[in-house]
Amino acid sequence: MLNLLGDFIGELRAAGIPVSMSEHVDAARAVEVINLGDRELLRATLGATLVKDGDHLPVFNTAFDVYFSIRSWESAEALLGDELDTDQREREGAAGAEGHGPSRGEGAGSTSMSAQELAELLFRALRDGDPDAMRQGASEAVSRYAGMEPGRPVGGTYYLYRTLRNLELESLEQRLLAGTMGANPDELGQRLARDEVTARIEHLKSEIEREIRERLVEDRGSEALAKSVRKPLPEDLDVMHANREEMAQLERALRPLSRKLAVRLARKRRRRRRGPVDLRHTVRRSLSTGGVPLDLRFKPPRPAKPEIFVIADVSGSVASFARFTLHLVHAISSQFSKVRSFVFVDGLDEVTRLFEGVEDPADAVARINAEADVIAFDGHSDYGRALVTFHDRYARDLTKRSTVLILGDARNNYHQAHAEVLADLHYRAKAVYWLNPEPTSYWNSGDSIVAQYAPYCDRVIECRTLRQLEAFVGELA
């Protein structure tokens, strides 16, 4: 057990979840006192002792399913061992055989049912919300459609895709909806029915995914598979290369992130320095200690807040990065005395007004695409032109309290760099930072001209993930 636990923790660490030595010890102690025959109890136990952040739970669950898959459960039990009494084992074994018996022999599974029968089975399972039937259907579907080849080093996404495509879930969904819609004439009822169907189909999908994973574990072993299904934590996702699903994850992660950052900065600012002694308050407090001022009171400090100018490239390749940064900066705009935002492709436009009076910066960010006027010529990024435009119109607004943030990959499409403009901006402002969403190794390759601008920036920072972005913005305030 200890070896298995060690491997499992190794996997968690590899996936980015910090597990300390003492947490490892806690987990080892905890498994001593639980009934190891109960898989969900083991999951809860390891979760409670090893994972200390709700956002990490999905990653933990994936790893758990791989390392302690239902199929390998019996063999795992043998490893776990001696504490398990025999009747417990028998009961578990019986339940296991019952639960996924039909899927045991793959050959038998695929021939025992025709496509129509399978579709019918799934339809009934979905209609009645019957979890056992769903599990059985999922297993049948995988045997039939996934076409899994042993030994291939894949994570199963492809198998999932194949199974789902062949199942034609859309038509199943239509049938289910047709069945339930008639009964509910009003809008709310229909919406509820739709959501219920969607939830059940999601459940089926997750069953299929689990089934595929289980078979892969059987085929290739936990360790190899864990590596292929390992997903980075949301804050470690590469913003520029995120797919649509990961993008949604990032969006979700951003809001709590910006809220936490705002709280942290507000605290830091309040604590950073005490103001002068507040005499009135101190004297009042001293009355309860016989006029002796034991308890000094201070006036709140009033530190200067920086002024931020954000200049963001919103052309296709780096648009999402710019959106996240604008969102984050505006979410903590209370930490700055002023935030002005500019976006460009080859023309430049100020978008500060979009953020004014908006409760949620995400709304404003969404409007940028539609409302900002950023294309002057051909719609390819032109950093030189954008900087010149910025310099012409807004340079006189820069003071020694202003910090300029430039966001972009500095891929200039072989236009002129106009680095001398940046030199003047640097001279006028307190600081100029350049955030580049590309890995450092790509800088200055192809049409990237980071090196030409770098001398006039206080720092050029690689900023590929939310974690890096948060760290930088936190420093700024």
Binding site: A30, A44, K260
Partner: protein, 315 residues
């Protein structure tokens, strides 16, 4: 095995005469006892509570507001017949409010009252001993929980609101179940209390705190569990209505809202519908009572549009 048992080890360290008996035999028993106290737990919750007792470790409960984190601690206290001691955290909470404070006024009185003519050094020494006795101390929740001799459950609520420094105050209690007071020495727990910390995740808690706790994430319940919660907490509701309410709430939570409805708001809504004598929810009822579930005007408008397919709520 017994040498490794964390309860035995802790009892020895605290110098208890006997190892306190385990409160729950199994996660199933936790579930049953909590259900008797109107708290419907699930597998994960029951398992973590069981472990917390078995390993004598505090539980850090995290999750969105209104999903029953505080209620869980209360239910546990009720189910084991213990007194609940609650420390509500806020910004600026310090040692003197969380742990203990010397009662200056009483000490001053004692000094003034006990000053006979020509008091010598000896008497001063006695006096000094005297005014730093427990009699002159105001115990605050943390110390109270440690020094209690009856069974207690300590709830440190919304621990994410205190500053990092104050968090450090709690570390000694969380890992050793003891408090060190410079003038008095170390006060050890007379029993092993159950400790719950709740957090709404407004800031990252320190690694040190997290490491000492078991972690429990309480998210929004599944439709089935939410329905059961409604059934158990709202008297006189039909199961069809409860089911429908749970479904509406689930649908609302999938919409991108500023504040998704919490379980407690769901219960309020269910009670309202029962008082109104509804047996099912129509479009009109939903539009008229949505403000119980949602607290922002923009959310109400968006939800009305999404769920009921119209742009303005009915006045």
């Amino acid at each position: 095995m017994s040498a490794l048992d964390p309860r035995v080890e802790l009892a020895q360290r605290l110098g208890l005469s006997s190892v306190p008996p385990v409160r729950f035999e199994s996660p199933e028993e936790v579930k049953k006892l909590l259900a008797e106290n109107d708290y419907l737990s699930d597998e994960a919750i029951a398992s973590v509570i069981y472990l917390a007792d078995r390993l004598a470790k505090p539980v850090l409960v995290e999750g969105p507001a209104g999903t029953g984190k505080t209620a869980l601690a209360k239910a546990v206290a009720d189910s084991i017949g213990a007194r609940l001691i609650r420390l509500q955290c806020y910004e600026g909470l310090d040692e003197s409010k969380a742990l203990y404070e010397w009662n200056y006024r009483k000490q001053l009185l004692r000094i003034q009252a006990g000053r006979p003519e020509g008091a010598g050094t000896e008497e001063w020494h006695d006096l000094e001993e005297d005014i730093f006795a427990e009699e002159f101390m105001l115990t605050r929740p943390l110390l109270e929980a440690i020094s209690a001799s009856d069974p207690v459950v300590l709830l440190i609520d919304e621990v994410d609101r205190v500053e990092l420094e104050t968090e450090a105050l709690m570390l000694e209690i969380l890992s050793e179940y003891q408090v060190s007071i410079p003038e008095l020495g170390t006060i050890r727990a007379k029993q092993i209390p159950m400790v719950f910390l709740t957090s709404n995740n407004t800031r990252e808690l320190s690694e040190a705190l997290k490491r000492r706790c078991l972690y429990l994430y309480v998210g929004y319940p599944t439709v089935e569990r939410e329905r059961d919660i409604i059934l158990s907490r709202v008297p006189g509701i039909s199961s069809a209505l409860a089911e429908q309410i749970a479904q509406v709430v689930r649908s609302l939570r999938t919409i991108d809202l500023k504040k998704a409805p919490s379980v407690s708001e769901t219960l309020d809504w269910a009670r309202t519908l029962v008082v109104l004598g509804r047996s099912e929810i129509g479009d009109e009822d939903a539009a008229a009572t949505l403000h119980i579930l949602l607290k922002y005007q923009s959310d109400i408008e968006r939800a009305t549009k999404e769920l009921l397919g119209r742009s303005r709520p009915v006045a």
